[in-house]
């Protein structure tokens, strides 16, 4: 059983980490554009804001399994095939990016307006306000947001089996459900519980040491 579970764990970790990483990069960029262009933002531009707003909401309303199928052409274009573990990373990233964009946006929104105003008062540029002030202040909240996203992506990755992505979720369905191997099912669930626990504890720890 270990030779089934171990590679599956590897696939889950690989898919989740890589797609969370890219999702954070994209989400970050989106969040910064949202914050800049929002009402009373540093570069208020309600047109850009509302377009982005609609795009993010649309992507977030797709059920993940449908999103995977919709994104087949894009996946094929980007990595040459539309099935497999690496192929699953594309829809996972695109599914998670708008989610984390919203989380980081609200983390940045929570930064005390007075601090931003103070930064303006000593002549900080918009770029400096975002990177030297807002991100510094929002870091603990952003760490929480990344933790939450990573765990959500681990959950999503269970569906990656549908495109041949493998992973623990896939094992649970194939062996545990279709072949009635209840013990395999239980083990995969236990491993997932442990994985989520570890991620959450690590996230909590990082939050604690960054929060002053």
């Amino acid at each position: 059983m270990t030779d089934i579970l171990l590679p599956a764990l590897g696939e889950t970790v690989y898919m989740s980490l890589v797609s969370t990483f890219f999702a954070v990069l994209i989400g970050f960029a989106l969040a910064i554009v949202l914050i800049l262009t929002s009402k009373d933002g540093l570069r208020e531009n309600l047109k850009v804001y509302s377009i982005l707003d609609v795009v993010i909401n649309t992507l977030r309303s797709f059920p993940f399994i449908i999103l995977m199928i919709v994104l087949f052409p894009l996946t094929k274009f980007l990595i040459g095939k539309s099935i497999g573990t690496t192929a699953a990373i594309i829809p996972l990233t695109i599914g998670a990016a708008p989610f984390i964009a919203r989380l980081i946006e609200s983390a940045l929104k929570e930064v005390d307006k007075g601090v931003v105003e103070a930064a303006k008062s000593f002549g900080a540029s918009d770029f400096q306000i975002i990177f030297k002030v807002m991100l510094v202040e929002a870091l603990p909240a952003i760490i929480s947001a990344i933790t939450l996203t990573l765990i959500t992506v681990i959950g999503f990755s269970a569906m990656a089996g549908a495109v041949g992505g493998g992973g623990l979720g896939d094992v649970a369905i194939k062996y545990g459900y279709y072949r009635f191997q209840t013990d395999t099912m239980i083990y995969t669930v236990l491993i997932l519980v442990a994985l989520v626990q570890v991620c959450q504890s690590l996230g909590d720890y990082l939050y604690k040491i960054t929060k002053k």
Partner: protein
């Protein structure tokens, strides 16, 4: 130093500042006073361009603020420090790093920053708190850190937006003393926005009273308190309660003879008794000023008024 002429500002259709004209001299401590919603913070923010204004002129030195471009405005703001009601410190940076931030952003060298930050933190009395975080400090200490931060770029002007409103009276006094010290030592012009009359009395040389965006008073602080006009009285919420019979005469004691025994001397020399029915003495900018209302009988009115007139005392019959 700061010269404002016929300045108007609107929020949508609502006029929040109506035809404001003031001059603030270099080295002066100038107070903008008013109830909340009077437009005082808005006016203050026009000085460093955090708010724009529609028409009129606002010159700081030679510069017309509304005609500065974004980059020019950034550079201009180096010259204007600002402190806030809720201190606006970065919670995740130490005291040292908070104070160092403006210099870091403007690309000063490490040595310059370290020296300046340490000097300023000893000026505000927090040299032992370099590595503390804001959450470990009291309100007064946080405001001291904010003051140090506002001074890092050697500004000519310091703007204070309700900087003592979140502090208790003793801490308020200590912060005001610090501001006074900075004003004297560094010859920095200070513009203070406050709704607390005590602040004005303790520190300001001149004060502007705002109500609904209109100027209702603009004078030396002592004059404003010594001889408040109707609007000022209303603003201060004080009205004399005086007897309805006889004549009530209000005497104003300017700062130099507030201690002089004018009333008792008058009683002795005219051989007459008075009722003192209202009075107030206050310390303003370390001077004692005040006024007093005496009640006299109708038949004595002329004698008393003649006597007062001979003695160079400001008075009025209520």
């Amino acid at each position: 130093m700061i010269s404002i002429k016929n300045l108007n500002k609107y929020y949508g259709d609502i006029k929040v500042l109506n035809n404001i004209s003031i001059n603030i001299q270099k080295g002066e401590i100038f107070a903008i006073v008013g109830h909340s919603g009077a437009g005082k913070s808005t006016l203050l923010r026009c000085i460093n361009g955090l708010e724009d204004y529609k028409d009129g002129s606002l010159l700081v030195g030679e510069k017309e603020i509304k005609s500065l471009k974004k980059e020019e405005l950034r550079v201009f703001r180096k010259n204007i420090g600002m402190i806030f009601q809720h201190f606006s410190l970065i919670q995740r940076k130490t005291v040292f790093d908070n104070v160092a931030l403006p210099m870091e952003l403007w690309g000063y060298s490490k040595e310059e920053i370290t020296k300046k930050v340490k000097d300023l933190l000893s000026l505000v009395g927090l040299e032992h708190k370099l590595d503390s975080y804001p959450s470990e400090l009291s309100g007064g200490q946080k405001q001291r850190v904010a003051i140090a931060r506002a001074l890092t770029l050697d500004p000519d002007v310091l703007l204070s937006d309700e900087a003592t409103s979140a502090l208790d009276p003793n801490t308020t006094t200590s912060i005001l003393n610090l501001l006074k010290e900075i004003n004297e030592k560094l010859n920095i012009t200070i513009v203070i926005v406050t709704h607390e009359m005590e602040v004005v009395k303790q520190i300001a040389q001149k004060a502007l009273l705002l109500e609904h965006g209109n100027i209702i008073g603009l004078d030396d602080t002592e004059e404003l308190f010594l001889k408040p006009d109707e609007k000022m009285k209303e603003f201060l919420g004080e009205n004399e309660v005086v007897p309805s019979n006889g004549v009530n005469v209000k005497l104003y004691f300017p700062k130099d003879n507030a201690y002089q025994s004018f009333i008792t001397k008058m009683a002795r020399e005219l051989n007459m008794d008075f009722n003192i029915v209202w009075g107030k003495l206050e310390e303003i900018n370390t001077h004692i000023v005040g006024n007093m209302v005496i009640n006299i009988e109708d038949k004595n009115k002329n004698v008393v008024l003649d006597y007062i007139k001979q003695h160079d005392i400001v008075w009025e019959v209520l």
